[in-house]
Amino acid sequence: MGEFNEYELLPIQYFIKKIHELTVDSVLSELPFFHEVVSPDTTGQEVAQLLDGDPHLPGLLVMEKGELKGVISRESFFERVGRKFGVEKYYTRPISLMLEVIGYKVLILPETMLITTATRNALSRELEFLFQPIVIENEQKDHHLISAQLLFLAQSQQLLEIHKQRYFTIDSGLPKTDQEAIIEFVKHVGNQSVFTPEMFTNRHQIRCDHCTEMVDYAIVDIIRCFPQLNRGVIVEEKMGVRTYRVYVRHYCRDREIWEIPMQLDERLEYRSQRQARAVESYA
C-alpha cells in the first residue's frame, strides 16, 4: 500500500463534497493523489490484484531504483488484459512488457502547478491517452498519481467558481459609480421625483436568516449586483402603492452567494423581507 493523503480511502463522493473548497488558484497538490508503486518485474497478475484491491486507484507507478519508468493505468491494464489471450500474455509476464506495448509517455507535472494549467496540459495529450492518470512531482522528486477524472472535475469546479463571480454581490459589484447606478435605476423604474441621492447611498442593515449575520448594504450596492437590472429590481404596483422588490446578494455560509428578497416602499425604505435563498448556480 502506498501513501495517501486525507482523501485516501474515501470514495470519490467525499471529494466531490469537499470540492467547493477549491478556488481558482488551487494547485495540483490540493487534489487527492495516490502513490502505489510496483517494480517493472511485477507480474500482470500482481498488478491485477492491486487494482482489484482498491477501486479508487487510477493506476500504478512503475519505478525502478527510485526512477519512474512509467505508469500503468487501470483502464489501459484491463483493456489490454481483456483482449484475446490478454490474460495468458500479461498475467505471468513482467508489467514492463505492457508498458512497452502501450507506449504512453507519462505526463509529469510539478505539484505546485495550477489546476487550470495542468488541465490544459492533460487535454493536450493524444486522444487515446486523454484519460490516463497524471503524475505529479514534489520538491523531493517524489511522484504521485492523480486521476484525470478528478483533475477535470476540479477544473469544472473552478470554472463554476469563475462563473459565480459573475454573480456580483454587494461587496463586489459592477464597477459603476454611485451616480451611474442611480441613473440606471431611475431609467429602469421610470423617472420618480421622490428620489434623492441619499436614498440610494444611505447604508442599512438586514439580517440574513440563513447565516444569521447582519448584511450591510446601500441601494447602489444592490444596483451594482445586477448586470441586468430587471432581474434584481422589480417594480410592483399593487393596491394603489408602488413598491420595489430587490435582492440583497451577499457571501453567506461557505462563501456561497445568497440573496435576501426584500420589498421597499416608494421612498426606497424597507417594508418587508422574505426567506433568503441560494443564488442559482449551474452546478
Binding site: E236, K238, M239, G240, V241, Q263, R271, S272
Partner: protein
C-alpha cells in the same frame, strides 16, 4: 331581549383571500359565542378548505333603539387561486362555479389578509376582481387584517391600509359603477379574540344595510 319578527334578518357573508390568511379560523371564531379562550383545542378543527364551508352565527344588534336579530351565514371558499397549479384540490374559481346556483347573494364580503404578510394584502386586488360577478350593488365589504396578535411583525402599516382602502373602493366602483355599498376596515386576532366582537357588529351592520333597511 326585545323580539320583533320584522327585525329578523339573514345575511350571507363570504370571507375571501389567499390561503392560510385565516378564513376558516376566523369563521370558526365568529361562529362561537364566547371568545376563543381554549384556542389550542380549536386548532384541530382547522383544515384547508377545498370546498365551500358553511357556518353561522346569530347576532343581535341595536341601532338607534331598534334591536335586530341577524343570522350571519358564512360561506367559506378555498383560498387557492385557479392559476396556482402547485396546489391540489378545488380552487376558489372552481367552487364558485359549482355552487353559483346555491349562493343566493353575498351581503357582506370580507377581504382577508395577514397584517404580517404584505403579499396577502397585495393580492386583495386579485380577489376584488374575482368576486365581482357574485356580488350585488348593495354588498358591503370589510377589509379584515388578521393575525393582529402578531402586530410586532406587521408589514401592512396603517398608512398602507389607508391608501389601499381608497384603492379598493375605487376599484369596486370602477368595476361596478352601480355599486353603492360601504367599505370598512378592521384588524382582528382569532387567537386573542381582539376586535372579534367589533367585527361581528360590523358584519351585522353590513347585513342590515345590504337588506335595504333605512337606518335613520
Amino acid at each position: 331581549m326585545p323580539e320583533n319578527f320584522d327585525n329578523k334578518l339573514t345575511g350571507y357573508v363570504m370571507p375571501i383571500g389567499n390561503g392560510a390568511v385565516g378564513k376558516t379560523s376566523l369563521s370558526l371564531t365568529l361562529e362561537m359565542n364566547d371568545l376563543p379562550a381554549d384556542w389550542e383545542s380549536n386548532l384541530n378543527r382547522l383544515h384547508k378548505s377545498h370546498n365551500l364551508d358553511f357556518r353561522y352565527y346569530l347576532d343581535t344588534i341595536t341601532i338607534k333603539d331598534v334591536t335586530y336579530q341577524v343570522l350571519q351565514q358564512y360561506l367559506v371558499p378555498p383560498g387557492q387561486k385557479a392559476l396556482d397549479l402547485s396546489e391540489k384540490g378545488r380552487s376558489f374559481e372552481n367552487v364558485i362555479e359549482i355552487y353559483r346556483s346555491m349562493i343566493r347573494r353575498v351581503d357582506v364580503g370580507l377581504f382577508l389578509y395577514k397584517i404580517n404578510d404584505i403579499d396577502s394584502y397585495n393580492d386583495m386586488e386579485y380577489w376584488v376582481e374575482k368576486v365581482m360577478d357574485i356580488i350585488n350593488d348593495s354588498t358591503n365589504f370589510i377589509m379584515v387584517g388578521t393575525h393582529l396578535d402578531k402586530s410586532d411583525m406587521r408589514e401592512v402599516t396603517p398608512q398602507i391600509l389607508e391608501v389601499g382602502k381608497k384603492y379598493v373602493y375605487g376599484l369596486l366602483k370602477k368595476r361596478r359603477p352601480t355599486w353603492h355599498g360601504y367599505l370598512n376596515a378592521i384588524e382582528v386576532s382569532s387567537v386573542s379574540g381582539e376586535n372579534i366582537h367589533k367585527l361581528r357588529k360590523l358584519i351585522s351592520g353590513g347585513i342590515i344595510l345590504a337588506s335595504g333597511i333605512k337606518i335613520v
